[in-house]
């Protein structure tokens, strides 16, 4: 007897939650409907979560001077940017690495900024510098204790990025490793998750975009950017090309780009967004 009653209350609880979800979805779709005003052209960009915040800021500025244009920016990784731009799901794709020869056959890349990938450690970790060989040893678990690379007697906790992230591809390309060679203790998705992993366990080593690392370190997050191959990671060393782990931040288009999208692309590659590029701790390209 008691069972029936409680089953009912379980059910009504589940239903009421479903109801709110439905309502939420409904209001969302209403909100997106109201955006479709007459005479307004929408440009959609998808792709790299590294590039997306910069493009979103640039889009805001562009919309101010072009009231008839709405720009939607969605992040989801470079691979998605390439796929969406190629299939026409999005007008333009955001890709935070150089295109492969295969990709360059169908898509054209426009460089809007440059970025570096740097190794980060906890502020309290005495290690300040790691060269390429040491990083290879760490990421393949040949070096498992910080004392072997000049640190304290503590285990090295290796944080790696999840499949498909361009930071992963850029970093592994620098080390000359296949992802199957990497023996990680922690696999994470976002740059901020890497940073938080280092903060929550000071024995962790990770790698993130220099832009993200520099802004977090400046805001008081207890991390430091590690000197690699004798070069300090910074916007200056990325700009002058001396920092060894760098990548272009691209916006890609296929052959059927609309006039509106092409105009926005022109804006993205112009000096008009250089201040925004610097605000996001990236390096403007001439």
């Amino acid at each position: 007897m008691g069972n029936d009653f409680s089953m009912n209350s379980v059910f009504s609880f589940a239903v009421s939650r479903k109801y709110w979800v439905l309502l939420g979805g409904f209001s969302l779709s209403l909100a997106s409907c109201s955006k479709r005003e007459a005479g307004v052209e929408t440009i959609t960009l998808t792709g790299s979560s590294t590039v997306a915040p910069l493009v979103a800021d640039a889009a805001k500025r562009y919309e101010e001077s072009h009231p008839a244009v709405r720009i939607e920016v969605q992040s989801g990784g470079s691979s998605r940017g390439l796929a969406d731009a190629g299939s026409g799901v999005a007008d333009l794709g955001m890709v935070s690495r150089a295109l492969t020869l295969e990709e360059a056959k169908t898509l054209k890349a426009h460089r809007i900024a440059a970025d570096g990938v740097c190794v980060i450690l906890h502020k309290d970790n005495p290690v300040a510098e790691l060269n390429r060989q040491q990083l290879i040893d760490i990421y393949t678990k040949k070096a498992v204790n910080w004392s072997t690379v000049g640190g304290a007697d503590a285990p090295i906790v290796v944080a790696n990025k999840a499949e498909g992230r361009s930071t992963l591809e850029v970093f592994l390309h620098f080390l000359g490793l296949d992802n199957a060679d990497v023996k990680a203790d922690v696999v994470v998705g976002e740059n901020l998750h890497v940073i938080n992993s280092v903060v929550s366990n000071p024995n962790t080593v990770g790698y993130v975009s220099i832009g993200t690392a520099a802004s977090e370190a400046k805001n008081g997050t207890p991390i430091k950017l590690v000197i690699t191959e004798g070069i300090t990671p910074s916007m200056e060393t990325v700009a002058d090309g001396t920092f060894p782990i760098t990548r272009p931040l691209n916006v890609v288009e296929d052959a059927q780009t609309s006039a509106a999208a092409a105009a926005f692309l022109q804006f993205l590659t112009s000096p008009a967004i250089h201040d925004l590029v610097e605000k996001h701790y990236f390096v403007p390209v001439p």
Binding site: S6, A14, V15, A154, A162, G189, H193, S200
Partner: protein, 300 residues
């Protein structure tokens, strides 16, 4: 005449009402079929290519490796299962104890406030639980076991346990509330103390309701994504200890779906499908057992 007319009217109204209710019930039931068919469609390219076998025979999960692509999903299923069982194992005793306390011992004011707090806890977004786990639970684990990464099976179990605690507690409370007063009074009349009444009368009577709550929280835990991805470490391996990182199936989908290209995406759909089937087996097993129990006692 008039009375028969109004009867006909109320009857047809009844029929409409019944039809509407039936339709809505069909929608909520059919939703599951819709989702499963969506998963099957998404997973089809991988099934067609005969990748399903590799799912269970490959040892590692490295779909992006150019040199040695492997698609073993077993370690992730084990991860999902372990972290869910750990969470349910942690949350059930605490939830049931708290429900018993609030039903039989606490003053009504406390009971009411406790219920409000638990309802609030349900509304806390998973990502907040995950972030809190990463910044609070993980450092605690590192202090406890300095040689480990911290992000681990244990961290995932603790965070998930907190997330499902309100479900276990509230359903148990409702089940206890539904135990007929007469039974409790009869137990008191027989001279049983409060503790004995709870143990021998109230809890057995509420068993089915508690079981339903545990099942609901189990399904909730096995499907949870945002929180576990932040605290489990996401290494696809069968753990040797509570302190080892694990990767639940949902984490893999969350980490890789947005970044996956065609064939990889189909594999992720496959993984999702396997997880849904997994949950279906659980639910089926539970209802089978209940049916057996019902027919068993029904005959007596």
């Amino acid at each position: 005449m008039t009375s028969s007319k109004s009867t006909t009217l109320s009857r047809s109204l009844d029929r409409v009402f019944r039809g509407v209710l039936g339709l809505l019930a069909a929608v909520s039931g059919g939703m599951v079929l819709l989702i499963v068919s969506y998963l099957v469609t998404g997973a089809w390219p991988a099934i067609e290519a005969g990748r399903l076998a590799a799912f269970f025979t490959d040892e590692r999960w490295q779909p992006g490796s150019a040199r040695d692509p492997q698609f073993g999903v077993v370690s992730m299923l084990v991860g999902s299962l372990l972290v869910t069982l750990l969470a349910v194992g942690l949350a059930t005793p605490v939830g049931v104890a708290s429900a018993v306390f609030h039903r039989f011992y606490a003053p009504p004011v406390l009971e009411r406030w406790n219920r409000r707090m638990l309802e609030l806890l349900i509304g806390v977004p998973a990502v907040v639980f995950g972030f809190w786990g990463l910044m609070t639970v993980v450092p605690l684990i590192v202090r406890l076991a300095p040689e480990t990464p911290g992000q681990s099976l244990l961290a995932g179990g603790i965070v998930l346990a907190l997330m499902i605690l309100p479900i276990v507690t509230l359903t148990t409370q409702a089940a206890l509330q539904a135990v007929p007063r007469a039974q409790l009074l009869a137990a008191a009349g027989l001279g049983l103390g409060r503790a004995r009444t709870i143990w021998a009368v109230a809890l057995p009577a509420a068993r089915g309701g508690i079981g339903a709550g545990v099942l609901l929280s189990l399904a909730r835990a096995i499907g949870e994504t945002m929180a576990v991805v932040l605290v489990c470490g996401n290494i696809p391996q069968i753990p040797d200890s509570l302190f080892d990182p694990i990767r639940p199936v949902t984490s893999t989908i969350a980490l890789e779906m947005g970044y996956a290209t065609a064939s990889h995406k189909a594999l992720l759909f496959c993984a999702g499908l396997v997880l849904v089937l997994f949950t279906a087996v659980f639910v089926g097993w539970h209802s089978f057992r209940r049916q057996m129990a019902d027919t068993g006692t029904g005959g007596a």
